[in-house]
Symmetry: C2
Subunit: 431 residues, 2 copies
Amino acid sequence: MKKPYIDMTAAELTAEISELEAQYKKVQALGMSLDMSRGKPCQEQLDLSMGIMDVLDSSSDLTCEDGTDCRNYGQLNGIEEARELLGDMMENNPKDIIIYGNSSLNVMFDTISRVWTHGVMGNTPWCRLPEVKFLCPVPGYDRHFSITEYFGIKMIPVPMTKEGPDMDIVEKLVREDSAIKGIWCVPKYSNPQGISYSDETVRRFARLEPAAPDFRIFWDNAYGMHHLYDHHQDHLIEILAECKRAGNPDLVYKFASTSKITFPGSGIAAIATSPNNMEDFLTYLRHQTIGHDKVNQLRHVRFFKDIHGMVEHMRKHADILRPKFEAVEQILARDLEGCGIGSWTCPLGGYFILFDSMPGCAKDIVARAKKAGVTMTNAGATWPYNDDPADSNIRIAPTYPCLADLNNAMQVFTLCVRLSAAKKLLREKDQ
Amino acid sequence: MKKPYIDMTAAELTAEISELEAQYKKVQALGMSLDMSRGKPCQEQLDLSMGIMDVLDSSSDLTCEDGTDCRNYGQLNGIEEARELLGDMMENNPKDIIIYGNSSLNVMFDTISRVWTHGVMGNTPWCRLPEVKFLCPVPGYDRHFSITEYFGIKMIPVPMTKEGPDMDIVEKLVREDSAIKGIWCVPKYSNPQGISYSDETVRRFARLEPAAPDFRIFWDNAYGMHHLYDHHQDHLIEILAECKRAGNPDLVYKFASTSKITFPGSGIAAIATSPNNMEDFLTYLRHQTIGHDKVNQLRHVRFFKDIHGMVEHMRKHADILRPKFEAVEQILARDLEGCGIGSWTCPLGGYFILFDSMPGCAKDIVARAKKAGVTMTNAGATWPYNDDPADSNIRIAPTYPCLADLNNAMQVFTLCVRLSAAKKLLREKDQ
């Protein structure tokens, strides 16, 4: 157990800084160039899916079970067998699913764009309202925030607890303010904490009483299948079913994709939602396209065969990712435990670990790491408008680097965390 | 040469109708079920591209020339080699090209949606304007009209000549009315006539002087490669280059895809436009997606190798389609020439033939054909709001049925044309 930095004298801090700076110079001299900024799968993960390149060839029959030739136009909702597979993946009825193109982010963007121009189920288009607000549980996913910011939607941060968004606040705000039209959620293995919403949280979501009839929960279940362990897994209550039971069937848009199951950029995305909402989606979709890529849908179905095939496949991803997450957690514990200068999550799945530094240190840590050749996600990215008021969140993305690089990068990282904290504490003593 | 219907006496018309009705009953009894409603490739055409299923397999290196792993996230503009191939296809500089997903219609929809919410290059978003108008050369493509109608854009029909839209009218309208923000064009082998814009027309387009600074030409070059003959081909002046020469580099958005080259729904789409416009597209795109399907882009590049490969491939499409177009034209000539009850185009490429019936007959003809088991595109579909004021346009889509079915369908069609005209003329004599 190390001595808490807070208990160090000025002299001790000075010695610590001098020692850390020497180490920092050494690692800087190595000229590393490691990127931990995004949640990208690594090459071995991508290699797991190379078999998908073989399931269809020129001798394949590209006809669906219902007789549709996947090579030609049509099937706006997606092919039946893909709706069934993604239905199993998302725990939804295939008839409640639309299969899209390669990106669920794109579907979320298009959904905001649609309600911006045409409104939700006959309600006023959001572009005609004086103000539109979204609740943004924080820390959260930067690409969600970038969509709402692009449309000029005012983002209201809502603190995350270990059980999900603080539901006392969510319930109050949506009940009181009809300008609040939505909330971004990553309910399972959340980005960036890797926590999953508790049963209580999901139930309270399904029972929300928003003032706005066109309020929708944007439920981005990006990591539904992305466990790190075989048995030690989070379980999430299925939101559509829960909303239906609660008498609020239209409250939620649920998004998912196979981006981190097969190939990012060449997977298939989907929404699951109520029949009313689906009708609303289709009024838009039928003008936007004749149909999405059915050959790729068929490729996914033939590759996985069924949900068990997908589960087995995800086990292989877990075998690659588990040691990386554990390595990060071990290095954080080894180098920082007891120092009292940061805390971190130890998720059971997903793509991220959240590190919380001492207030006011996150930007400094990320900048120091960068100068030593380690690129982290920008500090602030976990907050709307890139504005982390405490300047403490740092998202760690352990998936992409190989284990050796990850070890090096994390050593640089903990070094920067310690250096930044020691300097801050010394500055405070000087004042 | 048949006797013109217009010269027939009431008795002759009655005899003709009786004869035609007997024939109609016979074909109705055959219980045909033929669909000529959409411009879908036929199975043999799809079979031409089955080789694309073999160019990538699990042993393939899915790395681009610039080192990008096509399996992972990234490359918002598309991969370099795909931009080069589609640059050659579209006759544009690869740097002026963005590769999208599977549908150029989707790109057009998204483009309207983007300017609706965010405006063109800093101009007022169209959603905030009291009125937005589009020029719609008629007859034209129904899916274009459906996009503008969905956004509540007022569509103003502009007559097509044999050289393209009537440019006297286009020039005058765009100069005088700043609410006119765009025009839909299918400049080569147009849908539904199969005509190509003359050099003069393209030059006048490039020299338009719109009152609206955010006026754009929506140049849907869907059939740029879709010739029916080897040497007897239309040539279209490249619009981006012409706009640049005319000092109006930002005037045009150009769209294309490989939908009718490889597989509809599993091809790749693209835009070509000026650097200013491209910057505008990217401000939107970078929030909408992390990137489109690069594996499919690579698949297309490896399949065609280069533009010559694509040209050779299109020759095979032509060999399948040419006899179909010629069969339609022969039956129309055989059954209708001299009757004075309709005219039709004989295009050198594209997917359609336009038939013009006597005024007031198109809906009736299509309904009669339907009752005899032949589904044509709805009459009216070639006009905004489905409203063909003369009720005379019928789009013929010869590509999908096999030659035998096509012959049967066209016989039904000409029968319905004659029946409808004879009845109309007889009614007029009775009045």
